[in-house]
């Protein structure tokens, strides 16, 4: 208990002293930071870490002097998931990609010796290895503010965060700024909600602050349910203290003493890192009573969500924290005035809070200097799909989609007919001709899509837009809580329509029916889940109507995705009769003897595509075609 009390920091001066002490201790250290994000973990980054750890302890016994400056760190997501596991050396900035378990010892040995492992470096288009992280195109065109520290911080260590200037903003706010001053600064910076809505955070804080009743609450929305998005997860897993600091500042500005973090139970690492961070912040006196001797009291509780997409909606999330089913409520009064238990409640996204300490430290003008006039600052996207470099990217607002995909993402695998889906299930799909659209809350909205929380899924000519739209509608129909009729029934009917179209039974009336339904959903739904479902339908109908028409009129799927409109055949001339496909077929639909052409029984075929995968490249005998009847099979392509 005594030891804990000693840790408590009572003034900005003490904080600064601690920071300097930590920096001094850290001087001359060489850090090997190994990414332990989910993507890299799947590539056994944990094992690499433990091998290095045991190796290092062995070296310490043999020659302590030689390795005294080597520090191993397991950090949060570095972002470059495509080439995981990522290992970065600090302070040099050397970045190793695709390291395997066998490379662990070599990396450690070479780092101790002061040399580098050239074969693990990133190789650019011209074939030259790139040593420094900042020179890799993936990182070069990003502007990493929030993610910057992800590779330098061990998320389970508050000392790392303090050493890099953490909780300085909190000290500044508590000792030198009034709550009004904080709100003014945030308003001036034009920080807009990163959860997707883009509502100015400062105004929201002000409304909550000015609401008459007490107590007030602040909530972090970390119920990141968008498929294909993992920004919030990476921040919470990699740098939980930055979110906590932002939350405490917001609480001070608003006048709240109780905060909640609503985080998905599916993110166990985020939950444990955050709990650890809260414990440490309490030990250091950044949470609890009389924070930094200012008299301000604040506590945080974690609330785990149990897997419901709709619970990310503000009023639904508050219902869930109250212990009820997470269904949205009617919002006659805004949750900022009457939210959790009917009290004024401020709810922001993880990324919004993570931005706050930077704005306080660097000033609103610095923040305004990044991005566009309407949308300042940076935005984190999870760049996934058919793009070459998938991963987590942080870019200044106003960058074009083309730049993100080509400069950072390194282009698209297929390369033809590129489409981008932004905004998760609430957003839309943008065609290739709109790729020069700047990424900005208002511009994307004009294009028919939206910023959303930051999922960016790149697709190419092998993706059927009708199928994707149907996928999203089905997703929303599954996730609809069923409280309001337009959403519950409207989405259900839409899934039926998409089912019809993708199985070649759609009619031209179905298209106008889809349009009608999306207008209805937009106007009559209780919350944004149904209210934004029209985006996907409208944008696909607007930009890719010919794909719908191909499904309806010609009963073909141009991208050859919709399984009920595709078929596989074996070309008699090419087939050598190797029986590879016969063995691999899960439903035994392929028959044929050795050295004789095989035949696929179309009745039995489930169109899994195994045969086309196993057919050796030199034969390429399996042909995929599209069309429903013999008549339409003339449209077939390979």
């Amino acid at each position: 208990m005594q030891a804990q009390k000693e840790k408590i920091i009572k003034s900005p001066r003490e904080l600064n002293q601690l920071k300097e002490n930590l920096q001094l201790q850290f001087q001359g250290k060489k850090v090997i930071s190994i990414c332990a994000g989910t993507g890299c973990k799947a590539y056994a980054s944990d094992e690499i870490f433990s091998i290095m750890e045991s190796e290092l302890s062995g070296m310490q016994k043999a020659d302590p002097e030689k390795v005294k400056n080597i520090v191993l760190k397991k950090t949060g997501c570095h972002g470059f998931c495509e080439n995981g596991p990522i290992i970065t050396l600090h302070p040099e900035g050397t970045c190793y990609i695709k390291s395997r378990v066998d490379d662990a010892k070599e990396i450690l040995q070479k780092t101790v010796d002061g040399s580098i492992v050239t074969r693990l470096l990133y190789v650019d288009e011209n074939g030259t290895p790139v040593e420094k992280e900042e020179d890799i195109p993936f990182y070069k065109y990003q502007k990493r503010v929030i993610l910057e520290n992800n590779s330098k911080i061990d998320p389970s260590s508050i000392e790392d965060y303090i050493r890099l200037g953490g909780y300085r903003a909190l000290a500044k706010v508590l000792t030198g700024m009034t709550p009004e001053g904080v709100i003014e600064e945030i308003k001036k910076s034009n920080l807009r909600g990163r959860g997707g809505g883009g509502f100015p955070a400062g105004s929201k804080w002000e409304t909550t602050k000015n609401a008459s009743s007490n107590p007030k609450y602040v909530i972090v929305n970390a119920d990141e349910g968008d498929p294909g998005a993992f920004m919030d997860r990476s921040i919470l897993e990699g740098n939980p203290h930055s979110v906590l600091e932002g939350l405490i500042i917001a609480a001070y500005a608003i006048g709240s003493n109780q905060g909640f973090v609503y985080v998905r139970q599916e993110y166990p690492v985020a939950v444990s890192n955050l709990s650890e961070a809260i414990k440490q912040a309490e030990e250091y006196g950044f949470l609890g009573q009389n924070i930094l001797n200012s008299g301000f009291e604040f506590n945080v509780k974690i609330h785990r969500g149990a897997g419901a997409f709709v619970s990310g909606e503000s009023s639904a999330l508050m219902s869930a924290i109250e212990g009820y089913v997470g269904e949205p409520r009617l919002k006659y009064t805004h949750t900022a005035v009457s939210g959790l238990w009917g009290k004024p409640t401020n709810l922001n996204n993880v990324e919004t809070y993570a931005n706050v300490p930077y704005i306080i430290n660097n000033g609103a003008d610095w923040f305004l200097g990044i991005g566009t006039k309407g949308s300042s600052g940076t935005k984190i996207f999870s760049l996934v799909g058919k793009v070459k470099n998938t991963g987590l990217v942080e870019v200044p607002m106003g960058i074009t989609l083309r730049d993100i995909i080509y400069k950072i993402g390194g282009g698209v695998r297929g390369g033809k007919n590129i489409k981008v889906q932004t905004g998760g299930p609430s957003g839309g799909i943008l065609p290739e001709q709109l790729l020069d659209l700047p990424v900005d809350f208002d511009e994307l909205y004009k294009g028919g899509s939206m910023m959303g929380s930051g999922g960016m899924i790149v697709m190419d000519e092998t993706d059927c837009m009708v199928n994707i739209a149907g996928y999203f509608i089905k997703f929303l129909a599954d996730e609809s809580c069923g409280k309001c009729v337009p959403c519950r029934e409207g989405l259900r009917q839409m899934t039926f329509i998409y089912d019809r179209i993708t199985s070649g039974e759609g009619t031209v009336e179905d298209l106008s029916l889809l349009e009608d339904l999306s207008v209805l959903l937009e106007g009559a739904s209780l919350c944004a889940l149904g209210g934004t479902a029209h985006n996907i339908v409208k944008t696909t109908l607007k930009y890719f109507r010919e794909e719908y028409e191909a499904h309806i009129y010609y009963k073909t799927c141009p991208a050859m995705v919709c399984s009920r409109l595709t078929y596989y055949t074996i070309s008699e001339d090419k087939c050598s009769g190797c029986r590879l496909c016969v063995k691999s077929c899960p439903v035994n639909a392929i028959s044929g003897e050795l050295k004789k052409p095989h035949i696929i029984d179309q009745e039995l075929c489930i169109k899994c595509g195994m045969c086309i995968d196993v057919c050796p490249e030199k034969f390429n005998a399996v042909v995929k075609g599209t069309g429903k009847t013999e008549k339409t099979r003339q449209f077939e392509t390979v």
Binding site: G225, G228, G307
Partner: protein, 305 residues
């Protein structure tokens, strides 16, 4: 044959004793039941009874079957996909002769014939051994019962439940948090836990059930020892998660959301596992696998006991 028939109870008498009217639709349904194979679904009965009595509706069939189940003439079991199936309940009461409604119904159009038939109504043309003796559906039901907890275990379990409740400060607001903990401990939400929590926190059971059935994380039925989770997020979807799912379903022979009969594997899909770079991705026993081929899956499942 005669023995089997004798095992049946007199439907007519039972109904009379319970003061239940034997209307024509009911007669049609009962004779369809008696005519059908060993195990049947309400839908099958409906199809048969429509032929006997065209005005009948499916709702009537459901109601009548429920009624017959209530008066213990039918047993209910569950098929693998969760649909209820029925069979005639074995009973010691004697079979009565008045049960051949089929003939009676046939002659509805002809009143004279009908009267004649009534007098000469014979023994029911029932052959319960006609098709497949499929008792396994009813075994599954028993399997489920086995999973229900015993009294001694229940007592020792209660202190554990209390601990979790205490951890969450006995507060109604933390109900979801408690349920998450229970789900993680038991792998499902057993009935007794929900009852106990409801009583302890003074929360109506309906509210607990509404929460438990709303969130995808909670299961009201026991789950398998190993969880197979397939990511169905957009990034994985465009990279072919559907064919991965198809591979798994064809190996494990269960649909998403299902559990193998031996409670070894459960298959589920999630919206995003958060490692889109690896897609299509599958999580098995806490480990991630990037687009595993069928062979690897088979090996993986075989080696997990």
């Amino acid at each position: 044959m005669q023995n089997v028939k004798k095992q049946f109870i007199s439907v007519g008498r039972s109904l009379k004793e319970k003061q239940i009217k034997l209307t024509n639709p009911r007669k049609a349904i009962i004779s369809s039941i008696l005519e059908s194979k060993n195990i049947f679904t309400p839908e099958e009965i409906f199809i048969k009874s429509v032929k006997l009595y065209p005005d009948i509706g499916i709702a009537t069939v459901y109601r009548t079957i429920k009624l017959l189940e209530e008066i213990k003439l039918l047993d209910r079991g569950y098929r693998d996909d969760g649909k209820p199936v029925y069979k005639l309940a074995p009973s010691s009461q004697k079979l009565k002769e008045e049960l051949n409604f089929k003939e009676e119904l046939k002659s509805l159009e002809n009143r004279k014939a009908r009267k004649r038939q009534k007098k000469t109504a014979g023994i029911l043309p029932v052959d319960i051994n006609s098709e497949g003796n499929d008792d396994r559906y009813f075994e599954v039901k028993n399997e489920n019962l086995k999973k229900e907890i015993k009294l001694e275990e229940l007592v020792s379990d209660i202190s554990n439940i209390d601990r979790v409740i205490l951890k969450h400060e006995n507060s109604k607001g933390n109900l979801i948090q408690m349920l998450i903990d229970f789900q993680q401990q038991y792998n499902w939400l057993p009935k007794h836990v929900l009852f106990y929590v409801g009583k302890k926190l003074d929360v109506p059971l309906t509210q607990i059930y509404s929460i438990a059935s709303f969130y995808t994380f909670f299961n009201l039925e026991p789950k398998g020892k190993y969880q197979v989770v397939v990511c169905a997020g957009t990034a994985c979807h465009v990279r072919g998660s559907m064919s991965l799912l198809q591979r798994i379903t064809s190996i494990l022979k269960i649909k998403p959301g299902g559990t193998t009969p031996d409670y070894r594997f459960s298959l589920d899909t999630v919206n995003c596992l958060g490692c889109c770079a690896l897609g299509p991705v599958m999580m098995f026993d806490g480990k991630y696998y990037s687009n595993p081929p069928a062979r690897q899956l088979e090996k993986l499942f075989e080696s997990s006991n």
